[in-house]
């Protein structure tokens, strides 16, 4: 009981961090990851407002990770209501613990320490080592600077204006910038994939973040997007996104852990542009030490889908292979589709893959086998199996190759007497492809097809550094291949990555798809990263 009382007393005495800390100075600069922490360095007529305290000094260092600040040079600390004011040479303020250590000048120099906003309780005591230490920032480059920094402790700091260094080029200035340092899992967002996505944080707290995005994707080209993320530890998040101009759509993703091993997720989007579509999917997953059980329900416009999947975990058979087996029972409802609106199916699937095996001549290899067998509640069976062989070799320290050959066999079979039950079209009357040529359809090859894919990647990375040139080649050989429809026989991409400075890396790629009938496509993709 006394312990509980003592703990309660400590809790009651623990000072609350101020909701915000404002630093104004001739220069307020951010030094992330300096001296093992993230620092704000303010110099030149610095004024700090933190809760009821106002601090004036020649220089202030603020540690964003520990919420400690050190002010030095002509320091004056004033408390709310001007009821007390301290002047001295330096002041170390620990906002998290509410303690203040300052170097007094008058009447005699002394180091005093007190708690809270009560300097009357000050006790003279030697300064502990490191209380006034200033990390050496001479070799460190600032990330952004301004004249005003508004800190939300443990969450973010907003710089106004925001001036970004660009190395040899003139600095770039923005009206404001929000730097988020909360160790919160803000990773997940609901935006669809893009070849370039540069977020720009707008507003935030310790558990929420709103950002604007400058994006590029080959379909919509350059576009803007906004997203809001709400996070509760690692147990729940919700993310909403909006692409207002090109590729108009709204997305929502949510996740929560109901209890250990049991989670639920929701993912949905609404396309309201030229393409109009609504989609939502809910999944409930339970994980035991040996199996995963997933219930999935989704709706896309008027179509519904529900499935229950039981999967083994990945089993490792020492020393060579890994395998997994899976069973799925599914229901699909698609109004006004052939042959039935409502379809039930049962599917068994799995894979087995070897580890990376070392072969002679420095070649590394692995082999994978995938299979799937799906039986419908009408006379229809869909089976596929795929063999994938991968080889890789480092020619020397700078040049490496990786190649893959994959062969997929598909059997999409209808029972011999299916025509009688399903009212299938007459196989003697061929369909016609859009270009007017006869299309023999499934009857010509009894539903069997073969898809072959050959992929080669070569990477040249001088001195194992950050700059690289990569060439990707993909060739496909399929049977049947119908009148120019289908995968491009050859697809090539050249990718160049170059570091331009300590804060900027550019990745530029050019892709070509060589299709049938001399058709081809080309596209650029660009990526910037720190």
């Amino acid at each position: 009981m006394p312990l509980a009382l003592a703990a309660a007393a400590r809790c009651a005495a623990a000072p609350a961090l101020p909701a915000r800390v404002d630093i104004r100075a001739a220069s307020v600069a951010l030094y992330p990851f300096t001296a093992g922490t993230t620092l704000i360095d303010a110099r030149g007529g610095v004024e700090v407002r933190a809760g009821g305290r106002t601090l004036v000094a020649d220089q202030v260092r603020y540690d964003l990770m520990t919420n400690r600040l050190v002010a030095s040079g002509h320091v004056r600390l004033t408390f709310a209501g001007e009821r007390a004011s301290l002047e001295g040479a330096a002041c170390a303020l620990d906002l998290a613990r509410g303690t203040t250590v300052y170097e007094r000048l008058d009447p005699l120099p002394a180091v005093l320490r007190f708690a809270g906003d009560d300097p009357g309780s000050a006790v003279e005591a030697p300064a502990s080592a490191g209380v006034f230490a200033l990390a050496d920032l001479r070799a460190a480059g600032y990330y952004v600077r301004g004249r005003h920094a508004r800190i939300a402790p443990n969450a973010n700091v907003r710089f106004t204006p925001a001036i970004f260094p660009t190395g040899a080029f003139p600095p770039v200035q923005a009206p404001t910038y929000l730097y988020t340092f909360a160790r919160t899992n803000f990773s997940q967002n609901a935006l669809p994939a893009a070849s370039f996505d540069q977020p720009y944080p707008l507003f935030g707290t310790e558990n929420s973040l709103a950002s604007g995005h400058l994006r590029y994707d080959p379909v919509n080209a350059a576009s803007l997007a906004f997203d809001e993320r709400l996070v509760q530890g690692n147990t729940a998040y919700a993310s909403a996104a909006w692409i207002p101009l090109r590729g108009q759509q709204a997305d929502l993703d949510a996740f929560s852990q109901l209890r250990r091993g049991l989670t639920q997720t929701f993912a949905g989007y609404y396309l309201y542009g030229p393409l109009h579509e609504t989609y939502g999917a809910y999944a409930l997953q339970w994980t035991s030490p040996s199996t995963r059980t997933i219930f999935n329900a989704s709706q896309a416009d008027a179509s519904n889908h529900a499935s229950l999947t039981v999967s083994s975990i990945d089993h490792y058979v020492r020393p060579l292979a890994t395998y997994r087996l899976q069973l799925t029972y599914a229901y699909d409802h698609e109004p006004a589709t052939l042959p039935f609106d409502n379809v039930f199916s049962l599917a068994a699937s799995g894979y087995a893959a070897t580890r990376s095996l070392r072969l002679p001549l420095g070649v590394t290899s692995s082999l994978r086998y995938d299979f799937s067998l799906q039986e419908f509640d009408f006379p229809h069976q869909l089976a596929s199996d795929t063999w994938t062989l991968s080889l890789s070799k480092a020619a020397n320290r700078d040049l490496s190759f990786y190649g893959t050959a994959a062969i997929e066999q598909v059997a999409d079979r209808y029972r011999d007497d299916a025509a009688k039950y399903l009212d299938l079209p007459d196989p003697s009357l061929p369909y016609f492809a859009p270009d007017g040529t006869p299309f023999p359809g499934i009857f010509a090859y009894a539903g069997s097809s073969t898809l072959r894919t050959y992929f080669l990647q070569s990477t040249w990375r001088p001195h194992q550094g950050e700059n690289s040139v990569q060439l990707f080649l993909t060739a496909t050989r399929d049977f049947p291949q119908f009148h120019g429809y289908g995968r491009d026989p050859l697809f090539a991409t050249l990718d160049v990555t170059q570091r331009l400075g300590s804060t900027l890396r550019v990745d530029l790629a050019r892709s070509y798809g060589f299709g049938w009938n001399r058709q081809y496509l080309s596209q650029w993709s660009l990526s910037l990263s720190p």
Binding site: T99, P126, S349, G441, L451, R461, S527, S529
Partner: protein, 293 residues
């Protein structure tokens, strides 16, 4: 107590003793702006130095270097927390003894020459870089008017000293066997705004990707692996969401990081991916993808 004079003296003596030991305190409400704060003395403050301190060293000279916190009212304060009296006509110069344009102010590095005779600083050499020490702290500690301790502040978590040097960090990740063989794996970090395509990795074989990046030592960040979008981000061994990984760049020439990704977020139910390429009686046009224009 029959002598009233002795009683009065005894009472005065008791009050003086109480004030001297701090047993009596002024009420905090008595504090006014710019009023010196009363305090209890926890250690004996060194007596003020004689006003006759002279720049001509009256004793041996010892030199001690540090970084300045402040220079005010005849006192010099170092970032150690120690304060020293400076002689009124002390010489202020650069490290080589020549004239300097630097001013003794916060963040400037200084080497103070102490006259061991009176404990005052008689010369202050200024620099923008740290200066080598010529005396131990113990030698000049006795001159301090405000003392520090060598004991670390218990409120400061112990931190590794980071030099900020460039460190080559190599990330190697083992991916699930079913990772599509033409896909790219990216390293997404909080320091790049959690862009899902922040750092592209090289595929080195069927199951491994690798990238080498340069970071400053002391850099601390969160990261996750993706295949280009957050719908295809990594999942844990049980297929569930996982918190981001943490990484701290230490002082070393190189660092290697080996990770394993067990699942991707967009893993489907192992249904065959036919690429819309298999024609059926119900889909006479075999390919949904329109021809290239």
């Amino acid at each position: 107590m029959n002598n009233p004079v002795r009683l009065v003296f005894a009472l005065l003596g008791a009050v003086a003793l109480a004030l001297g030991t701090g047993a009596l305190q002024f009420p905090s409400s008595a504090l006014q702006a710019a009023t010196p704060v009363p305090y209890r003395s926890a250690f004996e403050t060194p007596p003020p130095l004689s006003a006759t301190a002279t720049p001509s060293p009256s004793g041996r000279v010892v030199r001690y270097s540090g970084q300045l916190l402040d220079f005010q009212k005849g006192f010099v304060f170092f970032t150690t927390g120690d304060g020293f009296r400076i002689s009124p006509d002390a010489k202020i110069d650069d490290a080589a003894g020549g004239p300097t344009t630097l001013k003794p102010q916060t963040r400037v590095y200084a080497r103070a020459a102490f006259d061991t005779g009176n404990g005052a600083i008689v010369e202050l050499a200024l620099s923008t870089k740290p200066l080598p020490n010529e005396a131990s702290y113990q030698e000049i500690q006795r001159f301090a008017v405000t003392l520090s301790t060598e004991a670390p502040n218990p409120e400061l978590a112990p931190r590794e000293g980071f030099s900020g040097r460039d460190v080559l960090v190599t990330f190697t990740v083992q991916v699930p066997p079913r990772t599509p063989f033409t896909d790219t794996v990216y390293l997404a970090t909080d320091i790049s705004g959690w862009s899902a395509t922040a750092i592209r990795m090289d595929r080195i074989d069927a199951l491994h990707y690798k990238i080498t990046q340069t970071f400053k030592s002391g850099t601390k960040f969160l990261y996750r692996y993706t295949r280009g979008s957050w719908q295809s981000a990594e999942r844990g061994q049980n297929g569930l969401e996982v918190p981001p990984r943490q990484f701290l760049v230490r002082n070393s020439d190189t660092q290697n990081v080996d990770n394993v990704v067990y699942h991707w977020g967009d893993e489907q139910s192992n249904a065959p991916d036919l690429g819309n390429s298999v024609p059926t009686p119900y889909q006479p046009i075999p390919f949904k993808t329109p021809p290239h224009r």
